[in-house]
């Protein structure tokens, strides 16, 4: 263990591997937790999960056909996000079953294609994530994305609240709710694809869902939930990363477990607060 820690603080390791992972990771966790607030409250929690499986399918196909993975996966997932949001809005096929249908289909295609082609290495990266192998390009993309998401959130905060809280009222007051849903679809899709490379297809939805749920245990206001979920998400990421390096565990899974521990603590704290509030 001490060997690991010593290794971690060598300048070479830090500059080449840990720093990009930290920058990219913080960027993606902030994005996913902010978008997560709206997705969870609009009952679209499973969209992140569904999109990641669709992304996995797209990445597998791209790997087999020798195409650049991101260039294939990003547009495919953006289109899938549009379709899923649309379906949840106005079709008879309800949102969650639509997601199940799409995601299992894409996952199966991905697995079929990659097993036929005998490719398992790249593809298992996308299943379980490889944060310590983020390329400079990935990191730059994550940072640009997170700046866009944070700016969107600050500038459109009041509108996002209104569309999330009561879409029919928002429409009635002249807010173009459809446009906001589309913006959300695109940002979510990009976040999911980036998060997938870091956390893996299996775990990315936890980054979207858990911080919001955690914040909701304690916060009364929307603003409070947004700020708290961002903070919890970044804290979980940092603690999880550090634990993974020290204990030599899988980073993605460690981050999720730290998120869950935060969730349990906040649940207990929320109960205690309510009890004291009542008495």
């Amino acid at each position: 263990m001490s060997e690991n820690i010593r290794l971690m603080f060598t300048p070479e390791f830090f500059a080449a591997i840990l720093l990009p992972a930290l920058i990219g990771g913080i960027a993606v966790t902030i994005c996913s937790s902010l978008l997560g607030v709206t997705l969870v409250l609009k009952r679209y929690s499973m969209i992140g999960d569904g999109l990641s499986h669709i992304g996995y399918g797209a990445l597998s196909v791209a790997a087999v056909m020798n195409l650049a993975p991101l260039k294939v996966a990003l547009p495919v997932v953006v289109i899938a996000a549009f379709i899923l949001l649309r379906l949840s809005e106005n079709s008879r096929l309800s949102g969650d079953s639509a997601i199940a249908l799409f995601s299992t289909t894409a996952l199966s295609i991905g697995i079929l294609v990659s097993s036929k082609a005998g490719l398992t290495n790249d593809v298992s990266h996308y299943m379980f994530g490889s944060i310590l192998a983020m390329s400079t390009g990935d990191v730059v993309l994550s940072v640009i994305l997170s700046v866009i998401v944070i700016l969107t959130f600050i500038l459109l905060y009041n509108r996002i609240f209104s569309v999330t809280f009561d879409e029919s009222f928002a429409r009635a007051t002249g807010v173009n709710a459809g446009a906001y849903n589309m913006i959300f679809a695109v940002l979510t899709a990009v976040t999911v694809v980036l998060g997938m490379m870091m956390m893996g297809a299996l775990l990315i939805s936890s980054l979207i869902v858990i911080p919001t749920l955690t914040a909701m245990r304690v916060c009364r206001s929307f603003r409070g939930v947004v700020l708290t979920s961002g903070a919890v998400s970044v804290a979980s990421f940092l603690i999880g990363m550090f634990a993974a390096l020290v204990l030599n565990t899988a980073p993605g899974a460690s981050i999720v477990i730290v998120n869950v521990i935060f969730f349990i603590c906040f649940t207990l704290a929320g109960r205690a607060l309510r009890r004291t509030g009542r008495s």
Binding site: F161, S162, F169, T173, R220, R223
Partner: protein, 236 residues
């Protein structure tokens, strides 16, 4: 009297079935219009058309002088407050001011004042920091009415504002609406199932009916009409 809203030969459909056919009526500034009708007679569809959320298939809705869609305050039908949605009363109420913000991102002190006044008016100012998930049904409807007031300059559209409220809370809600109509000269359009109350407060009645022609006129005319006497007879 200035006309604030006119509906001309409106036809609207839902899932391919016409729920409103050839409906025409006209209301003036300061009117209190109650829309009556059984379930499925197209009341909520009409409201959505008036708000411009749903396009009309035929006919048109003409807004009177200077009335913009953003001047209309709307209280949706039985707003399903999501269980546990984290938002304070203050956050919800001020979101009513959003329509007139245009593209400017943040609320100004003027809007904060509007929201505070609306809450004071409805007696929920002390709840501003409370989470809306902890409110009673009556408090919740007041919160939504306050939000609608923030949006409304001239016209309030209320879709069954007392659904799910106990008699006491309903009466209070009706008093508040009457007061807004009388004192503030706010034009009110309310969808209601409460025929007796509607005849009592409203200045105009619109009764949508799937079986025969719709009725539009004063409460007195309505009580004497075939439709009205049938409904009132049932009530007695």
């Amino acid at each position: 009297m200035k006309t604030i809203l006119e509906c001309k030969n409106l036809t609207a459909s839902y899932d391919g079935v016409n729920v409103i056919e050839g409906l025409s009526f006209k209301i003036n500034e300061g009117d209190y219009l109650c829309i009556l009708g059984e379930n499925g007679s197209g009341k909520s569809t009409l409201i959505k058309c008036l708000l411009g959320i749903k396009p009309a298939d035929k006919g048109e809705i003409v807004m009177g002088d200077g009335l913009k869609p953003t001047d209309i305050g709307y209280l949706p039908q039985h707003t399903d407050l999501q269980k546990g949605f984290p938002a304070t009363v203050g956050e919800v109420v001020i979101s009513g001011c959003l329509g007139r913000r245009g593209l400017r991102p943040f609320y100004s002190s003027k809007e904060k004042k509007t929201a505070r006044e609306a809450m004071e008016r409805l007696g929920i100012a002390d709840l501003a920091e409370r989470s809306c998930r902890d409110l009673s049904g009556g408090q919740q409807q007041r919160m939504f009415l306050a939000r609608a007031m923030c949006a409304a300059k001239k016209l309030l559209l209320l879709d069954e504002p007392v659904t799910g409220l106990d008699p006491q809370a309903s009466a209070e809600m009706y008093d508040l609406i009457d007061e807004l109509n009388h004192k503030d000269k706010m034009t009110v359009i309310m969808v209601s199932h409460d025929v007796v109350k509607s005849l009592d407060s409203a200045s105009r009645i619109l009764c949508l009916c799937s079986c025969s022609h719709s009725f539009f006129g004063t409460p007195k005319e309505y009580a004497n009409s075939h439709l009205g006497s049938k409904l009132l007879g049932e009530k007695k």
